[in-house]
Structures are given as C-alpha cells and as structure tokens.
Symmetry: C2
Subunit: 381 residues, 2 copies
C-alpha cells in the first residue's frame, strides 16, 4: 500500500484524487459512496475518471429485487439506482449487501490501472475484500512476477513498547531491506515485520529469519503470532486443557464476556457470567459478603476475589474472573482514583487479585481492564 | 477538513505529504509516530519540513521522568527520546500519555501554516484534540473572521437508508449551499447537515431551518440529535421515568451490558445482568424451563421471553431484555439459519419478543443484535 487518502462526497475531488493516485500505482481500492442517496458519488466519479457511461447491471438489479422481496417490499426507483455501474465493470456478485462492488480496468497513457470499488459498510467491505479483491491482486502479482511484500505479526503482552524496543535492539542491525513496526495498543504491542522479494519462498525464509531473532530476544513476552485476538489465544489454551471460564463483571459491564464470545466456537470453553453493576447484585448473584463491601468497598482485592470465586462456583467452571473498578469520570476518591481496577482470577485451588491504575478516560479504562483480565488468565494457563 | 491522508513510517514520504497538504490549507493536524521506537518518524519529519532542529523540552522530560517513577522504574535513554520536539514547538502539556503533542507555526512563502502534531493512541489523541487543538482552531477562525462550517446530526432508528431518503425528498430543493450526508450504520442512519457562513448565528439559523424540514418529513424516525449513542438516549429516557433495566444475553455475550455501561452514570438505571451462553446457565440462572429448551430450542420466542422476564425478576428492575440467537459461523439449521436472533423485552405487565434475520457475519450479527435490543426498548419508552 503506497498511499491512502480520504475524499469528501464531491465528484470533482474524487476524480482528481483518482487521477493523482492512479499515476503512482497499478491498482486502486476505493471504499464507500455506493449507497442509494444523493451523497453517494463513487459510481459517477469512477465512470467519469474511466471515460465510460453508467449502465444498469441486469443481474444486480435482480439481486436487489430479490433482496427487497425477502423484506416484503417492492423495489423502488431509488433502490434500483444501486444497479447502476460504469460500463465494463466486473461485479463482485458475492457481495453481502445491496452496494454494487466491482472491478474496472482503466487504460491510461502508459499502462492500465485496475480499480476495485468496494462498499463502505465495514462487514460488506471486508467480505468483498476477502472473496474478491485479495484473490484478484494475488493473481495479478503472480502473473506479472513483480516484487511483493509479505508480512507477519507477533503479538506480545505484559511489556511496554519502549522496554520491548530495548530488548529487540537496533533494528537496522538485523533488518536489511526488511521492515519492522511496533504497533502498541491496550491489548499489548504487536511486532509487524515485512519482507520484499519476487519469490514467495524467499519472502518466507526472510520472515523466518526475522521471527527467529525477535523470539530469541523477546520470546517470553510473545503470546502468539498472526492477528489473532488475545481472547482467541486464551480460548485455544483453555480448550487444549479441557478448561472452562465464567466472568463476573462490574466496571466492564459485559465487555470481557463480549471479548470471549467474539471468538467463533467459544461455547466450548465459555459458560457465561454475571454483570453485577450494583452492590446488591454482587451480594445476591455472586455471594459477595455485605460485610466486605461495607469494610473495604466494592473496588478492592477482597471483592475482586469473591466475585471470581463466586462466579466460578455458580457456573461450575475451571476458571472465574472478577473485575471491579472505577471507570470514571465520576466515583473516584483520593485513595481510589478514577482508573483503579481490581481483577481477580480463581481456579479450584486458589484465587489471586491484582490492582491496576489506569487513567482518567472511561472508555480506555474499560478497554484496558478487558485486556488486563485476559492477560492475567493467559499468564496462568 | 479539506483532505485526509495516511502516510507510512517513512520520513521522506511524510515530508512530501506535509508539503503537498500545507499548500492547500491553513492548519494541518497529524496523528501518530510520536512513540519511542525506530519507526516513529513524525518529529524528525516535522522538524525537517519546518527547517528547524530537534531540541529537548525540559518540562516534558520531567513529566516522563515522573511517569516512570510512578511505575517504579527509571527513565531510560529510549524514554527520554519522547522529550525531543522541533525547536519552536508549543507543547500541549495536558496530554495524558508519554507522546509529546505540540503545535508549531511554520512560515511558508505566502503565509503561515499551523501544524498540530498529536499522538496516535485514540484516547490520547482525542484528549489533546478536545483540550488543545479545538480551542486553538476555534480561536484562530474567530480571530480571522473566516468562513466556517457548523454541523448538526439527527439520529434515526428503524428505517432503511433508501426509505429515509425518499421521505426526505430531493435535497437540492431545500439545501441551497448547505450540505446533507446520510450516514448508515447498524445503529441506524444518521443525518449530518452542515451550514457555511462567517457568522455563527447565521450558521445556527440555517441549521435550524434544515432541521425543521428534516423533522417535518422524517420526525417519527428521529430518536435524538447530536452524536449521542443510542444506549445513552435509552438511559436518559429510563432515568426520566425512574425506570431500571437488566439484561440476559446469549449470542451477544455481554455486549448489550457493555453498551449500557459505556454511558457515564449508567449505574443510576442499569442494574446488571446474566451472560447465559450455555443452556444449563439459562435454566439455572434465569429460570428458563428445560421443557421449553427441549421443545423449541434456545433460539426461540419462548426462550427470549423467559430470559427477559427471568432477568427482570432476578434483578428487580422495571425492564428486562433477553437476547438469544445464532451469531455464526456455525450452529445454523435450515429453519434457523445463522443470523436468526430472538429478542425479548419484559416489564412488570407484559413481555414481547421479536425475531430478526441478520446475515452470515458473526461480528455484524452481534453488533446488529445489540442495536436491535436497544431500539426495541427505546420504542417502548
């Protein structure tokens, strides 16, 4: 990917950007602007850029008509607009929505440029990317025998970006023409490295070489490879051991369960949990002791441990996770400022709780609590 | 915002993009590349673009040193790199991370361009944007008396984009020089309209005029204004009525609770809930009848109703929500294909359940289930 630009809903600007970008590359992927309203300008702009008229695609029109019939409605003139595409477009009929994704080869003065025009709705875009565009581009690259870059990712956990960089050492000393990016997030730092060569086997060999160096230097912080989310790695580890897990959530309000159930097939190792936002719910549904709540408050080691143990017992699972904290913006005190989160992890033999001091931002405190809970369980597996 | 471009971690490319973009505008906002690793190139690129050296900011160095001390660590040379900024930079000391956000005025041949250089971590970036950059830009615009665009958003629910567009009618007939964008998402279509004028009162009057037309034509589908999430609108409506809610989640696995607890102050109206991913958990923790599960299966009107009623009774709330469905990719049958979701909503007097037929994509089915559950409750308030 050489460049990436966002254009407004303005035909002239879209055409100008297509002209500018097409001069730099062999293929351009666009997303968005394929809807049925006046501000959807991509088809018109692409047709103008290619110098071809807009025509109706009969098969896509039928798809739209069937789609509306399934919803118990009639196709309206406005719906039918989504069957209009530039003449010569090859539609990706596998699309999962109503937007007409297509490819179009546009002859330029010196060579041809392939346009891949995709919907803006993320799930629709991702689907067409996977089933239509990626195969097309791989094929194109293979036919032409041109250079390509392959990437690989290692996911780390429990180490700060700067500490990880010190462990890895000066990248120029081992990268050569390959690249390495540090990608920090609340879920840990990912190391993405890329190798460029005409030959796929050579690219893989170079990626193996770099992965070897990275694992040698920072291996104990590497929790997995690929862009697999931490919840899936934890799930895989649970399944391999025949273990199960349940969650008791206060400040995260269901997001730890949400992260686990993001993983297809999670029903094999995730039983469920309790969202106990109020103190009364913690007592009634998890068996947290009123005395404990009165003595040390809901955000405490004791309550996190009782939540983890309580949910584990009530759901009959191997593991229980309890999360209780002050996400903010209100509810902080001098002793327990906003961002204080206690996380407990229990198994049949023991329970452990740790305190985290995150920041002032509610959304980020919740996201970091989820990541910390997953990391804690991961560390015990 | 005139243009928006994404650049790789390559100093020469970043400088070239700054040159290109600076020729078009009065201010450039950058995000990312302020970390402590070799692939963080923004400070060097901005300094080269401005033609100034990189210098150490003593106050930010102290901040970094305090930050590490809080974590019980020593400042390393690598950490200290994050105190290096272009000479003449005005730091936003309110930043909540370690990245040095700053502004820098760069004289060009014809005029000056203001660069606002922000971190890439979303929460850090948003914070500096709010407390530092937005006031600066508003002030700049006010001082210069230049034209500005004000935007307003109406959130709709329960209506398809194309039907909404037909209700609204031909925008050119009422927009004049103002703009209107249809922004569809799984949470409903938002209508964002903008008015451009030197005078703020004139902008507001024009926005009032357009809002009047939109509400006249599509008012019954408008659930709120501003970029307030649906969960916050539901929460506000619950609070105004002195009502409370609890959730029972299967296929969403905690995401409905996650959406409610995204809202600051949600403890006033959200009590908690049960994540009952397995059938056993539905029986044990929600009182769903084994007979029902055997007779009609977990994804059914009856189970959605029993989940909604069960969680409402167990948490003592006004409202109960039950969500049970097949998110995919596995688990579908001819009668209940992947994407089939039953949602029940109960209050002390009644319970209602509706079935939704979403698509094949797991993540989108879960997201749409959350939106549908919130919309159903909203419709009853």
């Amino acid at each position: 990917v050489i460049t990436h630009v966002v254009a407004p809903d303005d035909e002239a600007v879209i055409i100008a950007e297509l002209e500018r970008v097409a001069a730099m590359v062999d293929a351009v992927i666009t997303t968005g602007g394929l809807g049925p309203t006046h501000d959807d300008r991509t088809v018109a702009a692409v047709a103008a850029f290619a110098g071809v008229p807009v025509v109706e695609d009969a098969r896509w029109l039928q798809h739209l008509s069937d789609w509306m019939e399934d919803l118990g409605r009639q196709l309206t003139p406005r719906n039918a607009r989504q069957a209009l595409v530039p003449a010569g477009a090859g539609l990706f009929y596998e699309s999962i929505g109503t937007a007409p994704a297509f490819q179009l080869t546009v002859p330029r003065s010196d060579r041809s440029v392939v346009l891949c025009v995709l919907p803006g709705v993320p799930t629709e875009m991702q689907h067409v990317m996977r089933v239509g565009v990626e195969p097309l581009i791989h094929q194109q690259v293979a036919v032409e025998g041109s250079e390509a870059t392959s990437y690989r990712t290692l996911r780390t956990s429990g180490i700060a970006e700067s500490t990880l960089a010190d462990l890895v050492g000066e990248p120029l000393m081992f990268l050569g023409t390959s690249t390495l990016a540090f990608l920090p997030s609340v879920n840990g730092v990912r190391l993405r490295f890329g190798a460029r060569h005409r030959d796929a086997a050579m690219r893989e060999a170079e990626l193996d070489r770099i992965e070897g160096i990275l694992r040698e230097r920072a291996g104990r912080y590497v929790v997995g490879s690929g862009d697999v989310p931490l919840s899936a790695l934890v799930g895989k580890a649970l399944m391999e051991r025949g273990h199960t897990v349940a969650v008791a959530e206060s400040c995260t309000g269901g997001l730890v369960g949400g992260a686990f159930t993001d993983v297809p097939g999670s029903s094999a190792w995730f039983e469920g949990g309790m969202i106990t936002y109020s103190n009364a719910a913690k007592v009634q549904h998890l068996g947290v002791l009123s005395n404990t709540l009165d003595a040390v408050g809901a955000v405490s080691r004791e309550v996190a441990e009782q939540m983890a143990t309580g949910v584990r017992e009530r759901f009959g699972t191997t593991w229980g996770i309890g999360v209780t904290g002050i996400a903010g913006p209100d509810g902080g005190t001098p002793e327990k400022p906003v961002g204080t989160v206690w996380i407990g992890v229990a198994n049949p033999d023991s329970v452990e709780a740790r305190v985290f001091r995150f920041g002032k931002d509610r959304a980020s405190n919740r996201e970091r609590s989820v990541a910390a809970a997953l990391t804690m369980l991961w560390g015990k597996l």
